[in-house]
Subunit: 339 residues, 2 copies
Amino acid sequence: MKHKKLKTLGLLIAVAVLSTVVTRAQDPLPSWNEGTTKQIIIEFVKATTDQSSPKFVPSEERIATFDQDGTLWVEHPMYTQVTYCLERVPALVEKKPELKNREPFKTVLSGNREAIAKLSQDDLMKILAATLTGMSVDDFNAEAKKWIAEAKDPRWKRPYTELTYQPMKEVMEYLRANGYKTYIVTGGGQDFVRVYAEQTYGIPPEQVVGTAGGTKYGYDKAGKPFLTKEPKLLLNDNNAGKPEGIHLMIGRRPSVAFGNSTGDRQMLEYTKAGDGARLAMLVLHDDAEREYAYGPAQGLPDTKVGTFTQALYDEAKKNGWTVISMKNDWKVIFPFENK
Amino acid sequence: MKHKKLKTLGLLIAVAVLSTVVTRAQDPLPSWNEGTTKQIIIEFVKATTDQSSPKFVPSEERIATFDQDGTLWVEHPMYTQVTYCLERVPALVEKKPELKNREPFKTVLSGNREAIAKLSQDDLMKILAATLTGMSVDDFNAEAKKWIAEAKDPRWKRPYTELTYQPMKEVMEYLRANGYKTYIVTGGGQDFVRVYAEQTYGIPPEQVVGTAGGTKYGYDKAGKPFLTKEPKLLLNDNNAGKPEGIHLMIGRRPSVAFGNSTGDRQMLEYTKAGDGARLAMLVLHDDAEREYAYGPAQGLPDTKVGTFTQALYDEAKKNGWTVISMKNDWKVIFPFENK
């Protein structure tokens, strides 16, 4: 009897262990804490891929768009691309010495962090234009690729491409496994994000929509054609520019949109305004310990980078968008925490 | 003995029939005549998808771009989209009666074909702007979809979407079956072509690159957001605009490009200038009987629609682009010939 009981107990344990393993293996979002937010995502994917559901979405219409800075990776204390542009200034001045004593380049070269932090929006635009245009597409790609491979975030001392949010990567993989095409729709530079999006998120260049400038076709001395990046803005992929960019580049209304700031408002509105099932979510940065906490919506500081206003919060509640709490909804923040 | 011989003969016939059937089933390009052109396509696809070949192209880089008018479907005597715009004029004037007595709308309303054919490029641009912009994206899609379903080509009395080239459809399917992403890169309107490209060619809206105007995000009286088509040109997807548009919308250099006119020259140059294996082809309209014959390269008339100049022909020969003779290379022209 005793022996039999032990055997039964052993079997029960085995079953329990096994079922945990199975549940884990089947859980598409293991870095999400159990709760309403996780459930909303899973139920949406199940319903929209179930042919018998009234919420079914045909596979060709399964489009999911993701903001990048603050939604897929860290945006504080400064957008990574702005850091890139500032760090490109010395190389730029070497090629164009006449800029050395001209503002805002002079301030950047001074290395005075306080003065750099105070540069106006206009000054930043001048730096962006000077460091992101005027070279061939191939040269830009090579430069940006090299920088991305070497540069490190000052807080975590890791490459920026490691400071991606593991829970969001799981959402993208889960959606792709269910026939969704995943797009980045970013206010950042389209060409800049394309340099690392494929390796970092599994999103190919043709599925990156971003702020885009024109290029100019020409020939080198050997008659070989190439494209030069021009300082002409074609698409400012922020705010209303996001749905406009989605129309230009994708030509369909998304079924799913994720963002984290007022710059994503119109993308979420546009997504939600379509017929049938739609999923709109906003990442709230409320985890000062594991990442950052900002956004007046929660009485948190307004850092001007990735602003999450009370008005956005109110619109989210009114329109049925889900607010993701990094603190409460995410078991881990970064992929390296799992290692 | 006699009986055995008959049996053997029967077996031989059966084998012969079977092998014909098998060969047919395996031929990815049954509407192409045997010859160099067909062989070039098949050898390119085999080499670029064979991992042991020095010409191997990784699947994520398999991008193939196709011009539309004159490359995938009939462009004579007038681009289909221009016909659409001319036929939209009465409905436009109904909404905006002030245009009734204003040129070039007055001429279009007159129905005088000779006068309409003589309209200047500027006049045509006015008609295009007036009939393709100023409405919501959804309204435009609904109108264009309806027209495409009903309008018929005057020569064949068939919908325009049936006047596609069967051999080119086979090339696109063959490429897709081998991991290539197929794109339309057209001088035509991006939104117009998107309306029928998926059903007609199996090419989804996000894989149509075309001449594109801006849109403007706004809200209707009920607060529902929508996009309005604006008369602001973002991309003139002709000539140098084709590689520029490819960079904007795809962000990679194609491995394969098909065109048929001087408007495709830069796209083919850009494609061929990349490293590794590249395929560039031009459709020559030299079949007056089954379709049309035009292009000064062959001493054929220059019809100003889809011009194939001697200079283009010379560049094709010099750069190793293949010229496809509709007359000699294509067994059938249209899908309906097979029925």
